[in-house]
């Protein structure tokens, strides 16, 4: 019997000596997945089932949502990752919601904070992000701000969220907050962090905040979210809700939950302190290299076509002395090398040991306190905009978007 079913078809099957009806869900590894009337899915061979009734279009009940016209308008730009989703219990499929109405319907608390206009720019896994998409995103945000939005929420998969936020931060000067948000637990589950993160990000967007930030859970409890500076934030855990941490230093602020009270720290850039401007040029031909003991000089050579190289070195910013010559060649051929540290915390200082001094002599730029990922994004932006080695060095060693501080303080 060569029959094909479509998701949602009512089918009749025989298993364990009894006949039963179920809904065809999908095919998986040679079995067909059938949803039984008790809600369970089971995988059984196609041959034991036949069609009973073709799928009918189910009536999706859509409640219309009235937005409160007296509230400020926020823009939601989605790039992937889900802030809102629905479950089709007939088939068990989980669908992400992108439309502003759908999002507000799924997270009703949002309606009390602002009005929304939403746009789906991309729907990709965050590991599939590219610098070109960062640029497109920056342009999109720019347009939204020009159109008068009071703040921009960018929903993003969490894996590379910090890279994108950092890239937008370098490309845009903004008078309004631009908040990146994601969820560490999928939005379909009752325990998802999506609702609280979304509410907190909306609240941050109507606050005095005036820079690019990431808003995510502060801890494992549902008690507060942190507002992190885009250029100082890093995903520090594979799965925990509080994976995002500001590295070295305090976050920009917090939002308490469920009161949604926002508090900003003194070092936060406030709303309207910058004029809107977009500088979206980037030189994508850059790489990030993680040094390890015994790394062969030929590894550096393989990057010879790159225009810029960020190295995550050891300790104060070191690589083995065997690499220095090759690094010198790379720079000699017009490339730029920025040194950062695998320690993540603390400042690079290549003046303490011989290896460091030799690196400096060969033309390596000390990446100060910059996170390796931020340094990479910044280098792309600097190479897209600067002329000549000296300007590159000068920009890389200037604090443009809070990516480093001139003074280091105690505490991680």
């Amino acid at each position: 019997m060569n029959q094909t079913f479509e998701s949602g078809d009512l089918i009749r099957c025989r298993w364990g000596g009894k006949d039963f009806s179920g809904v065809y869900v999908t095919e998986r590894d040679g079995s067909i997945v059938v949803k039984l009337s008790n809600g369970y899915n089971i995988g059984i061979p196609l041959s034991v089932c036949s069609i009973e009734q073709k799928s009918e279009d189910t009536n999706i009940i859509v409640k219309t949502i009235e937005q409160d016209k007296s509230l400020p308008v926020l823009s939601i730009i989605s790039t992937g990752g889900t802030i809102a989703s629905r479950i089709d219990y007939r088939t068990g499929a989980v669908t992400s919601q992108f439309d502003a109405e759908d999002i507000v319907r799924t997270i009703p608390g949002l309606a009390g904070i602002a009005q929304y206009r939403a746009r789906r720019l991309y729907n990709i896994l965050s590991e599939n992000m590219t610098p070109s998409i960062w640029q497109e995103l920056a342009r999109e945000i720019y347009d939204e701000i020009k159109d008068g939005t009071y703040g921009v929420i960018v929903t993003h998969g969490t894996d590379t969220l910090a890279y994108s936020a950092s890239a937008v931060s370098f490309m845009l000067d903004s008078p309004v907050p631009i908040v990146f948000v994601g969820s560490q637990r999928s939005a379909d589950r009752p325990s998802s962090d999506n609702v609280m993160n979304a509410l907190c990000s909306a609240k941050a967007c109507v606050s005095h905040l005036g820079e690019v930030a990431v808003v995510m859970h502060s801890g494992s409890s549902d008690d507060r979210c942190s507002i992190h500076r885009a250029t100082r934030v890093r995903k520090m855990h594979t799965s925990r809700r509080d994976a995002f941490q500001t590295i070295s230093g305090e976050p920009l602020g917090h939002i308490e939950y469920p009161s949604l009270e926002v508090s900003l720290n003194p070092h936060t850039q406030h709303r309207n302190s910058k004029e809107l401007s977009l500088n979206d040029k980037m030189d994508k031909n850059c790489a990030l290299l993680y040094f390890y003991p015994g790394m062969d000089p030929s590894v550096i050579k393989r990057y010879e076509d790159c225009h810029g190289l960020v190295i995550a070195g050891t300790g104060l910013g070191h690589v083995n002395s065997g690499l220095i010559r090759e690094i010198g060649h790379f720079i000699g051929n017009g490339g730029e090398v920025v040194m950062t540290s695998q320690c993540l915390h603390g400042r690079v200082c290549d003046r303490v040991y011989d290896t460091g001094r030799d690196l400096l002599l060969s033309g390596v730029i000390e990446g100060e306190e910059m996170l390796p990922e931020t340094a990479l994004v910044k280098l792309m932006w600097v190479l897209g905009n600067a002329n000549g080695h000296e300007e590159v060095r000068s920009l890389m060693q200037s604090n443009l978007k809070g990516e480093f501080r001139m003074r280091s303080f105690y505490g991680l």
Partner: protein, 615 residues
């Protein structure tokens, strides 16, 4: 009661924790902890997710009536998986194999490819807001001709400490859920079926023991009534009573319905605010309330106070519904004046609401949000009383009554657990599964093979020391001493507060072997086990207790005792055996098995007597 004409139909869902080394989706041990041992706490809010059809599951919606903050207590034996901070690991193969073993006992057919599902449960008992569960096998049968519909492998939920505080130690312990068909027709049949299922589960030797490790949910319906699921019946002996009381409840509710219809009763959807009317009340509950509103149940007078289960009235049912909104309960005019509410107050409320004496007024008090919600609940429940017995999930109360928990969940609350890859059951794997000897059969075998008394045999097979008995037999220890140790010695020691959990089976077998070979007397067993339980190495304990006397040594002692009492023995003949035995036992201080002494003594007295008689 004539259950046949009532049209009783009942089925059981039995939930049994498995005694696996690790939890179902992580590598944490399956040990329960005291909540005082918790080393970390955190809290979360759970929210129901809207389904494609724009619906939120009705049971989930009920739980959402109050915004609830759930606090979880973590331990050094729990991990990020229980915290819902890390994706689950693969399905525990030990648990799956056990589940398949049970399925095979019932002649079930395993599912080709097992899919793990997420079943929405937002009462806080699962950190994720769902319980992971998988349908493993279908269509089995019982010797009674009843059918088993399904067997599922699930993760256990958190243990509620109190209120909205939950303990994570239990979350994730593997659980099998066996669902029977609704084939049972009498309360006793329900109890007998539960007992049989329990016996089969115990036969695997790998299920947890103790209160709460096995729970029965009972599905009951009668003709004209509705399907009601009673959750969490833990005591087997109460099952038939629970069924009887549920039947009573449904029959009473149907009688109430008939009477309401006869009276032309109705429920007013309009409520009246009587807060100011009751300003000067002496009632403690009402005095505290921010708002008091009244629901008018037209023609319900007298029926709200009528009993539906021993000590529970129809009013209690209304109150259960109202409590879902956070109020402490309700007052109704069938029970007033009482609780500090005066006759005059009742009268003024009645006047204010323009109610007839045949009406019953229900007072709901609390804050604004609570009373609106609670009044709605009372109205809904009272309206339902005019047509049917509502389909409900109920929880068991002590002695077999039940109270309302939530509506029966719809089927619309399961979706795939995408973080766990489906598991294929290979036919070789199924073929390799060995069906364990059922404990009923084993008990019978112990009677015939080892000559145990049937009652003792049952005690042994259902005891946690069954493995000790079987290992002891394997080692050649006599069944009688093994069964006595299990059914009496160990029990006595436990009663005396000895930490018998410190004793390994091999410790106990070593002690019994020493008795068997006559190294120590059987009288010394309790003291020996005590010493070992308190930390003495078993061999050292035996050595210390043993007299070190060989049979020849004993013979020397016996001869000495005889020579000192020649006259007495000559006079009494073999009748002297008993008294002399006591003297010898004293000499060896009980460190030699009495049987050996008696054996030697018999030989020696016989030989002495025959020698003495000879010229």
């Amino acid at each position: 009661m004539d259950y046949d004409s009532l049209g009783l139909m009942a089925g059981i869902e039995i939930h049994q924790q498995l005694d696996t080394r690790e939890k179902l989706f992580c590598h944490c041990e399956t040990r329960l902890r005291e909540s005082s041992e918790s080393n970390r706490k955190y809290f979360r809010y759970l929210r129901a997710t809207e389904s494609e059809l724009g619906e939120i599951d009705r049971a989930a919606r009920e739980e959402m009536k109050m915004e609830r903050k759930f606090t979880y207590h973590a331990y050094d034996t729990t991990c990020l998986v229980e915290d819902d901070e890390e994706p689950p690991g693969p399905l525990n193969p030990e648990a799956l194999s056990l589940c398949l073993t049970i399925a095979k006992v019932f002649g079930m057919t395993p599912i080709d490819q097992i899919h793990i599902m997420r079943k929405l449960v937002i009462d806080g008992s699962n950190t994720s807001g769902f319980q992971r569960t998988a349908l493993v096998a279908v269509n089995g049968y019982l010797p009674s001709d009843g059918d088993i519909e399904t067997i599922c492998l699930e993760e256990e939920a958190c243990q509620r400490i109190e209120g909205d505080n939950f303990s994570l130690d239990r979350l994730g312990i593997p659980l099998v859920e066996i669902t029977t068909g609704p084939f049972m027709r009498t309360p006793d049949e329900v109890q007998a079926t539960a007992a049989y299922l329990g016996m089969v589960l115990r036969s695997t030797g790998k299920v947890k023991r103790g209160l709460g490790t096995i729970r029965q949910d009972i599905n009951i319906s009668i003709k004209d009534g509705s399907r009601v699921e009673i959750k969490g019946v833990q005591e087997l002996d109460l099952i038939s009573e629970v069924v009887r009381r549920e039947i009573t409840r449904q029959v009473s509710l149907l009688q109430i319905r008939d009477e309401l219809l006869r009276r032309g009763a109705s429920v007013s959807s309009e409520t009246k605010d009587v807060t100011s009317l009751l300003k000067g009340t002496k009632s403690e509950v009402l005095k505290r309330a921010e708002r008091i509103i009244v629901v008018t149940l037209k023609g319900f007078g007298g029926l709200v106070g009528s009993e539906v289960q021993p000590g529970r009235r129809f009013g209690t049912e209304l109150s259960d519904y109202a409590k879902k909104c956070g109020v402490g309960g309700i007052f109704h005019t069938d029970e007033l004046p009482a609780y500090g509410v005066t006759e005059a107050e009742v009268l003024s409320i009645r006047n204010f609401c323009e109610s007839e004496p045949s009406d019953c007024l229900v007072l709901v008090s609390g804050n604004k949000r609570e009373v609106i919600c609670a009044a709605r609940q009372v109205i809904d429940r009272a309206e339902a009383a005019l047509t049917c017995v509502p389909e409900e999930t109920r929880k068991m109360l002590p002695l077999g009554n039940t109270s309302y928990m939530r509506p029966l969940p719809g089927a619309a609350r399961m979706y795939p657990e995408t973080d766990v890859i489906p598991v294929k059951i290979k036919s070789e794997e199924w073929g390799r599964i060995i069906i364990p000897e059922l404990l009923d059969v084993k008990a019978q075998r112990f009677v015939t093979a080892y000559g145990l008394d049937p009652a003792i045999a049952r005690q042994v097979v259902f005891s946690e020391y069954l493995p000790l008995f079987e290992a002891g037999i394997e080692e050649g220890i006599k069944p009688a001493i093994l069964s006595r140790t299990i059914t009496s010695t160990l029990k006595e020691l436990r009663r005396e507060g000895v930490l018998i959990s410190n004793l390994t089976n091999s410790d106990i077998i070593s002690v019994l072997r020493a008795v068997d070979i006559g190294k120590v007397g059987k009288e010394a067993v309790p003291d020996l086990l005590l010493a070992v339980a308190e930390g003495t190495v078993v061999d050292a304990a035996i050595e210390k207790s043993s007299s070190g006397l060989t049979k020849d040594d004993i013979r020397v002692i016996v001869r000495k005792v005889i020579s000192e009492r020649e006259e007495f023995i000559r006079e009494k003949g073999m009748g002297s055996l008993g008294p002399v035995m006591g003297i010898v036992m004293k000499e060896v201080r009980g460190a030699v098995d009495g049987k050996i002494i008696s054996e030697v003594l018999k030989e020696e007295i016989t030989s002495f007597l025959s020698g003495a008689e000879s010229p």
